[in-house]
């Protein structure tokens, strides 16, 4: 069954003076999903959000909601609500009136406003604070008011513009779980904007990685992390090590790649041909380290180098290793029972390799 997108952007371009903020962008957002727009600052993610909300009109292109053209509809007539990074609570109203504002604008009757606001306050767990003014609330509480003020209107799509970035680390972790719970409980489509890849990966159903007004890749967190389409996505989403190599030999579904004179076997998903220059990407946790001369049980090829830095992190040990060819790589080692000698010392000689299939070839 083909899923119908609730929001559809087609060829949307937005310029601010000479700067292209969004560049002929296509995006489908599906009913009930948690979609994250992830990218560095200035990549156009917030502009996309503001176009969906109606605060910006695209220069070219169209936006649809459930098949209806939405492009020139003003924000107050769209069934979409936004939670802003700064919360932007109304300072002269108490919590209750802040949350009730949307319903009052719709001229709902007093009784149903009372009921709906109370329900929203329950959902975001703010009971007892109805009469407080925004300046009497903590950052986390203000965040909850901003959420309640949006969801009380039962929007088809809830837009969240970096709502957690003003909170401290602990509270942020808590609110991430809270947002996930809200998403499940309400069943509303969430479009979330962030520059924090950890946040994006842990919360989203799908992630759209943006750069310079375009979507570089869109997919599930697993796809984005493990099978990046290009260097930008690979580098932006988490740490990654990059090796330059040349294809020597192609077989059925696999290929031999020469990296620093060693021949590594890699998966061949992209019709590699002999003589082609490729980059082989490896996440820090996918690289295996073994003491020199004993490379991974003595099988297969390995690159050798020496340990520069050992960073003990509790759950893991991070190693910075300089290869003999001069490259610096970053490796994360997990403690596990069958490999107890993960503790390396500075200056120690080591071999590095990886299991076939864990690499990404671009």
């Amino acid at each position: 069954m083909e899923k119908v997108p609730i929001v559809r952007l087609r060829g949307v371009t937005k310029r601010f003076d000479d700067v292209v903020a969004v560049d002929t962008l296509d995006l489908d957002i599906y009913e009930g999903e948690f979609l994250t727009l992830l990218g560095p600052s200035g990549c156009g993610k917030t502009t996309v959000l503001r176009i969906i909300a109606g605060f910006e009109t695209p220069d070219t292109g169209e936006i649809f909601m459930n098949g209806d053209r939405l492009t020139n509809i003003p924000p107050n007539k769209r069934n979409v609500n936004t939670v802003f990074q700064s919360y932007a609570l109304f300072p002269h109203m108490n919590v209750f009136d802040n949350i009730a504002f949307g319903l009052k604008m719709k001229q709902c009757d007093k009784k149903s406003i009372q009921e709906e606001v109370r329900r929203a306050i329950d959902i975001v767990k703010l009971s007892g604070l109805e009469q407080r003014r925004p300046f009497q609330l903590s950052g986390g509480q203000q965040q909850r008011v901003a959420m309640a003020r949006a969801i009380v209107n039962k929007p088809k799509v809830l837009l969240l513009d970096e709502p957690l970035s003003a909170l401290d680390y602990r509270l942020r972790q808590e609110m991430q779980l809270e947002l996930k719970r809200l998403h499940r409980q309400l069943g509303i489509t969430f479009v979330f904007v962030t520059h924090d890849q950890v946040e994006a990966i842990s919360m989203s159903d799908r992630i759209a990685v943006m750069n310079e007004g375009r979507i570089e890749q869109i997919g599930t967190p697993i796809t984005i992390y493990e099978e990046p389409d290009n260097m930008f996505v690979a580098r932006f989403v988490g740490e990654i090590n990059v090796f330059d190599g040349r294809v020597k030999h192609v077989e059925n579904g696999s290929a031999q790649v020469d990296i620093h004179g060693q021949r590594f076997k890699v998966q061949n998903k992209k019709n590699l041909f002999p003589g082609q220059d490729v980059t082989v990407l490896l996440r820090p946790e996918d690289i295996m380290v073994s003491p020199n001369g004993n490379g991974s049980g003595g099988e297969g090829p390995a690159l050798s180098g020496s340990v520069d830095e050992v960073i003990y992190k509790g759950k893991t040990v991070d190693l910075i290793i300089t290869l003999d060819q001069g490259e610096t790589i970053f490796v994360t080692q997990f403690f596990n029972e069958d490999q107890e000698n993960v503790v390396y010392s500075q200056g120690q000689r080591v071999d590095v390799d990886w299991l076939y299939g864990w690499e990404v070839v671009l």
Binding site: G54, N76, N81, F90, K106
Partner: protein
């Protein structure tokens, strides 16, 4: 020691500020017409004041001009401040800095230039030109007061209101206006007092047919200070004290 000195210093300042006013108030009850020594308590200057029809008419005129010019200046000034805050248009920067220029320019320059302006246009100076002049010099104070307050607010608040379904008018009524009302009141009061005691600009822009209090007092004082003037000044002092107190309470209430 240090503490005593602090209080002495502070008292000295307040004595300098309020002693002259206090003397004025006391002398308004002094029975002596000319001398500065105390001749006994009397209310006769107050009754003389209220029966002095030309002085009372000047007072009424002053209140009328102060009230209407401050109201008009507040409406225009608030709208101007909103426009500067809300919209990006060509010349916005220049226009907003010229507001300050008007505020800073000496009264004498403003008075003469307005007079020239009215003469060139061939307008007879009188109540109407006086009103226009007062609106003109009050306007920047309203713009600056209101703008200072709105520019302190999170711009996203406007977007949020729209996002939650408010039309432009609803947004203004339910969000903008309640947030800036203290500044509007403050701007209005400022205009009112500025207009009420202005001498220099008024001197150039009013005609012989329309007399206002500061000019009347000025011309009377040239012939020597009369006790009625003391009584009048006392009335005005307590009037302004009352407005300041009321405005303070209103602003506090609104916060």
């Amino acid at each position: 020691m240090n503490r005593t000195f602090r209080y002495l210093y502070l008292s000295a300042i307040y004595v300098c500020l309020y002693l002259p006013i206090l003397i004025l108030v006391i002398y308004s009850f002094n029975a002596s017409r000319y001398s500065t020594n105390w001749q006994g308590f009397t209310l006769q200057w107050y009754s003389a004041l209220f029966s002095n029809t030309s002085l009372m008419e000047a007072f009424r005129n002053s209140l009328l001009v102060a009230f209407s010019s401050s109201v008009v200046a507040t409406v225009i000034g608030t709208l101007a401040a909103l426009a500067f805050y809300r919209y990006r248009f060509w010349g916005r920067q220049i226009m907003s800095s010229f507001i300050y220029v008007v505020m800073m320019s000496p009264d004498i320059v403003m008075g003469i230039s307005l007079l020239m302006f009215f003469i060139i246009l061939g307008v007879q100076t009188g109540a109407f030109t006086l009103l226009l002049a007062h609106i003109t010099f009050c306007l920047p104070f309203v713009v600056v007061t209101v703008y200072a307050r709105i520019s302190g607010f999170d711009r996203n608040i406007i977007d949020v209101a729209k996002d939650l379904g408010a039309s432009e008018m609803q947004m203004f009524r339910h969000i903008m206006l309640p947030m800036i009302i203290p500044a509007i009141i403050a701007g209005w009061l400022l205009s009112f007092t500025l207009s009420l005691d202005d001498v220099i600009v008024s001197f150039f822009t009013t005609g012989p047919s329309f007399e206002i209090l500061p000019l009347k007092i000025y011309s009377m004082v040239r012939l020597g200070i009369k006790p009625e003037i003391n009584a009048l000044s006392t009335v005005m002092f307590f009037l302004s004290l009352l407005t300041v107190t009321v405005s303070h309470l209103v602003i506090k209430e609104n916060r």
